[in-house]
């Protein structure tokens, strides 16, 4: 079962930017954010459904604030989709797993 991986400033480059096997979805989240906590089970569910198609990652504000600044994240949760190391889509707020999958399909089919 595919579970999202926790990424920090130390391995963001390796796990996200240099990942060319699969597109990478990153959830920039905060432990004090109810919307983020609500998204977690939906994110897990989507990760399972998209196993082998999309790599799911999470970056915590409490663990690595610098990554939030570097990527211009000004709201939580912010989902950023990377492909071949480049950002191709971004979305803010909690959402249902099926909506998340639909959003991914939309951007990955472009």
């Amino acid at each position: 079962m595919a579970k999202p991986i926790d990424v920090t400033g130390e391995d963001f480059e390796e796990e996200v930017i240099k990942c060319t096997d699969l597109p990478v979805l990153v959830d920039f989240w905060s432990e004090t954010c109810g919307h983020c906590l609500a998204l977690n089970p939906q994110y897990d569910q989507a990760a399972e459904a998209k196993e082998g198609e999309v790599k799911f990652a999470k970056v915590s504000f409490q663990d690595c604030r610098d990554l939030f600044s570097e990527h211009g994240v000004r709201a939580t949760p912010t989902l950023v989709l990377f492909k071949d190391g480049k950002e191709i889509a971004r979305r803010v707020g909690a959402m249902r797993a099926d909506d998340l999958q639909e959003w991914l399909n939309e951007h990955l089919s472009e």
Partner: protein, 322 residues
């Protein structure tokens, strides 16, 4: 993680007449009851300048005075009131019904949604375009992202002022703007607001647009009562505008809604999901009145009690207990 698990029998989301009345009934029935509400007095009733149709109220009183008495009754019977905005739920786990507040997760065996219908029906120009670039709705979530910056709080009720107070400890400056001529917060909050030097209140300003450059918020444009326009600069705009749309977006489709996003229930306030009930203005119905909301809160609590006891009806229901 800083989140904590708080377990209870019944979690009530919303501190208006529906939620608080449900809490009175539930606590009197012996249920461990928690109410999440963004402010001690929230919702339409807290905003009503004069209520003349509340039973037993011969002379009209401000709604918040009536609601304060209901709140005191909630506390008297032992329900816990947690000041927080509920941002989401997870009703799909087999470990109870999860309710996510600002920084904590509550787990309950039954939930009553009584969040009312005061969400803004429309977005302010620029709000959607700059979402993620400085538009925010929750200080617990996004306040730390604006540490040391100048921010704007748009809103006129107690929740907005509570959030402004929290922001004042993080941001460089906080400008609270409201189209009203005075704040609509209780004396306690107003007193506290006088304390921080970095909080400024601007009354008589109606927001016209959130402005930004390159997807990043730079401020908000307003019109004053004389029709003059001005822009206040800020890196973040925290929105607490009120309207007349149901507050159901945080449910993420967990229960069935009607075509206008109100929650569908049966006459016992049961939603499409067993153990989850709804009461008050957030329900799909025709009549929206404060005393009706209170009545529905009572029905929802009694239904929740019945659900929690496997259908068994308590023999002491409705009797006074000291």
């Amino acid at each position: 993680m800083t989140q904590t698990d708080l377990t209870c029998d019944l979690h009530i989301i919303g501190g208006g007449p529906a939620g608080y009345t449900a809490a009175i009934y539930a606590a009197r029935a012996g249920l461990k009851t928690v109410v999440s509400t963004p402010a001690p007095l929230s919702g339409m009733m807290a905003m009503a300048p004069a209520v003349g149709n509340w039973p037993s109220q011969v002379e009209p009183l401000p709604g918040r005075d009536i609601l304060e008495r209901i709140r005191e009754q909630v506390l008297k019977y032992g329900a816990e009131i947690v000041l927080e905005s509920v941002a989401g739920v997870n009703f799909t786990t087999d470990r109870g019904l999860q309710v996510f507040g600002g920084a904590q997760m509550h787990v309950a065996q039954a939930v009553i949604v009584a969040t009312g219908a005061m969400n803004p029906a429309e977005k302010v120009p620029g709000e959607e375009e700059l979402l993620g670039g400085g538009v925010a709705y929750c200080v617990a979530c996004d306040g730390p992202l604006f540490a040391g910056e100048d921010v704007i709080v748009v809103g006129a009720d107690e929740h907005a002022y509570e959030e402004a107070l929290a922001l004042s400890e993080i941001a460089n400056s906080v400008t609270v703007t409201t189209p009203a001529t005075k704040v609509n917060a209780d004396e306690r909050v107003a007193r506290e607001l006088e304390l921080p030097d970095n909080v400024r209140i601007e009354t008589g300003l109606r927001i016209q647009e959130i402005v930004g450059e390159g997807g990043v918020v730079t401020g908000a444009r307003y019109r004053d009562r004389d029709g003059n326009e001005r822009t206040i600069e800020g890196a973040g705009v925290f929105m607490y505008l009120r309207g007349n749309a149901p507050a159901t977006e945080f449910l993420l489709g967990a229960v069935d809604l009607d075509e206008h996003d109100y929650i569908i229930t049966d006459e016992l306030m049961q939603t499409s999901l067993p153990g989850v009930f709804a009461a008050g203005d957030v329900r799909s119905k025709v009549v929206r009145q404060q005393c009706v909301a209170a009545g529905e809160g009572a029905v929802a609590a009694l239904s929740a009690e019945r659900f929690l006891h496997g259908g068994e009806v308590r023999s002491d229901r409705g009797q006074a207990r000291e």
